[in-house]
Structure formats: C-alpha cells, structure tokens
C-alpha cells in the first residue's frame, strides 16, 4: 500500500471524523434515534423558525457536550444527571435571551419551544451516551454532528410544510396564485404524517446502505 493511500484512509477512519459524521447519517438523532420529535412537529411550519431552532439546538448540544466532557472527571456520578440539566439549562437560557434581545419576531414564533430545548432528549442523550466518556474535542464534534443532523431534518420538514401549507418559502411566495394552502400541513397532525413519510424513506435507504 502506498503511503498516500494510508493518509487518505486514516482521515476517513480518524476518530474525530467518525464522531462528526455519526450524527449526520447512521446515528441521526431524528430518523435513527428518533429523539427530539416534539420540537420537530411543533416549529417546522416555517423555514425561518426551523433554521433558528436548529442553530439554537446545535449551539446548546456543542457547548453542553463540551462542558460535560471537560468536567467528566469532576462530576460525581450520582449527581451527573443534575449536572447535565444545570449545564444545558444555562445554555438554553442564554439562547432564549439572545433571541428575545436580537430576533424578537423569531422568539415570538417559537414561543415556549426555545425554553423547551432543555428537555430535548438529543442534548441529554449525547451528554450521557458520549460526552461523559470521551474527550472534549471529540464530544464537541459529536454534538456538532448531531446538531447538524437535527437541523437538516428540521429544514427538510419545514421545506415541505411551508411550501404546501403557506405557499411560501422563507416568506417569499413560491406557489402560483391559484394554489390552495393545505391547512393540515401547518398544524401538528400534518407534521406527523410528513415525519412518518420521511422516516420511511430514510430507514429504507439506511437499510440498503447497511446491508
């Protein structure tokens, strides 16, 4: 084997790359772990909400994973859940205040769901499943991967729901004037159907690639 090839291989098999890529596909928080669905159903009716929510959640996962990992040898195992909650809550409140101060319209649209990021299982899950056992850099990358994977699904959902439900995309009209909005897509039941269809598609593809 030539040395060049070894370099290329080691990059794809490197721990950091695996940590980052896991959340994007084979461990995707939505269609593999099926976590964080409440917010997925609630706030994906418009693209701008989905993007804001995705960024907020990604920020919270990256930094809470980083902190949990940094303090993993200090946190007594009996109060580790409490430690996760405090760390996550601190970052979520920061995001909430930031949105309220600089993006009041988005903050209003998202309503209580910004505060409810605290209860998003993806963040808690990554802290318990990964960050508590791995180094800070890997944990942050793992968090980033999951955050991007989650944001990707939010955007896919919002793309269909906004175009069909409102006839717009990011507020711009994309459907012809005669288009009749599908009201069901703008409310939670429509999101349920759409999520089911997406899960079906992605699980089918995933099964083929795994085999």
């Amino acid at each position: 084997m030539s040395p060049k090839k070894t370099v290329k291989r080691s990059f794809r098999n490197a721990k950091w790359f695996k940590a980052l890529i896991a959340g994007l596909w084979q461990d995707n928080p939505t269609f593999c772990m099926v976590l964080g669905l409440c917010s997925m159903l609630a706030i994906t009716n418009r693209m701008d909400n989905a993007i804001a929510m995705g960024l907020g959640v990604t920020f919270c996962i990256v930094f809470s994973s980083l902190l949990v990992s940094l303090f993993r040898n200090v946190i007594p195992s009996r109060v580790r859940m409490l430690a996760y909650m405090v760390i996550i809550a601190t970052f979520v409140i920061c995001v909430d205040r930031f949105l309220k101060a600089y993006f009041p319209p988005i903050s209003e649209e998202l309503g209580p769901y910004v505060g409810l990021i605290i209860t998003n299982c993806i963040i808690m899950g990554r802290a318990e499943a990964y960050a508590i056992k791995n180094g800070p850099l890997l944990s942050a990358l793992d968090g980033l991967g999951c955050g991007i994977g989650y944001t990707f699904m939010l955007i896919l959902m919002a793309f269909v729901r906004e175009t069909i439900g409102f006839g717009t995309l990011l507020g711009y009209r994309v459907m012809p004037g005669s288009w009749v909005n599908w009201v069901v897509m703008t409310i939670a039941p429509g999101a349920f159907f759409l999520l089911g269809v997406y899960l079906w598609i992605f699980r089918t593809i995933a099964k083929k690639t795994e085999a």
Binding site: P76, K100, Y102
Partner: protein
C-alpha cells in the same frame, strides 16, 4: 466525606451558572424591554393609522401620541382625537391580544389590529389578516357589534364573520364588544372630568 464532596460540587456548579445567567440577563434586559416597547408602540401607531418606518416608531410615537393613564387602562390619543387601547381576552384555542382604536365620536371603530393569536392557521387565524380587519373601519359598537354570516352584513354595526371559523369569530365578537363598550365608557368619563 463523599456526600460532602457532592454537595460542594452542586453548590459550586449552581453558583457559577447563576453568576453567568445574571450576567447574560443584565446584558440583554434593556434590549428586551426596548423590543417590547417598540412592539406595543408600533401596534398603537398602526391602529391610529399614523405612518411610520421601522426604526422611527418610538420618535413618531412620542411626537404624535398622547398617553392618558386611566388607572387600569392606558389610552393612546392621537392629535385628531382618536383613541387607541390594548385589548386581551380568550379566543377559541388561546388568548387573543391586539390594539383597537375608536374615532373621536367614541362610538365607532377606527381600526383593529391583532398583535397575537393562536387560532387555527388558515381558518380562525384569518382574524389577524388585513382583509378581515379592514371591514371594521367606521363600524359602530353601540348597542353592540354583530358578526353576520359571511356576505350578509349590511347595517352600520355589522361585519362579516369568517366561514369555517365560527368559534374564533364568536370569541372575537364577544371580546371586542366587551372591551370596546367598556373602554369607550371609561374614556368618556376621563375626558368629561378634564
């Protein structure tokens, strides 16, 4: 000893995160207050039909609107004598809030603006749309404002309800009637006392 360590850890962690949050809070609080003020004042300007540009809402408000504090309710009075006030009450699914303005005669509506509502999108949610709200202009709310089936309104105190959103229409009808009549009464008293 182990328990002591745990308690110490929790205490330190709690203190550190509290200090951080206090810092974030003191930094963002003024901005958040300002956003809320801008939102209310823009809604009032909208209801009084005073044109403004984003960014200049506060200055125009201070220049053209007089605030009359009547205890529980604040009235915002423009130079031509129209008065606006906030209203708040239950809709079908969630609270409805907005700003209404009445003409100087104190018995007809100038404009209604809905600031927030949680009605069914596309059905009851249309109460916030301009096309629905513009029909309130000049309508009288004594003896009461009446929501008629769509297309049937004719009298000076009748407006069209929204077909398919009977619950939301009824809720808004009840809310507007109570708040308009009550506030017109309060305002009359306030103006007479001067």
């Amino acid at each position: 000893m182990k328990a002591l360590k745990i308690i110490l850890f929790v205490l330190v962690m709690g203190t550190v995160s509290s200090v951080m949050l206090v810092g974030v809070n003191s930094f963002t609080q003024p901005l958040i207050f300002k956003n809320e003020e801008v939102k209310l004042k823009s809604a009032v300007l909208g209801a009084l039909e005073i044109t403004y540009e984003t960014g200049s809402a506060l200055a125009i408000f201070n220049d053209k609107v007089r605030v009359l504090d009547a205890g529980k309710t604040e009235f915002f009075i423009s130079r031509d004598g129209a008065a606006a006030f906030e209203f708040y009450g239950p809709g079908l699914w969630g609270p409805i809030s907005g700003v209404a303005s009445i003409n100087p005669d104190l018995k007809s509506i100038k404009a209604i603006k809905i600031v927030s509502q949680e009605e069914t999108p596309g059905l009851g949610g249309r109460i916030a749309e301009h096309g629905f709200l513009k029909q309130f202009r000049g309508k009288e709310f004594f003896p009461r404002l009446v929501f008629m089936p769509e297309g049937k309104s004719s009298a000076v105190n009748e407006v069209d309800a929204i077909t398919g959103a009977t619950g939301s229409s009824r809720a808004l009808e009840r809310l507007l009637n109570s708040v308009l009549q009550k506030n017109a009464g309060i305002l009359k008293e306030q103006l007479n006392n001067r």
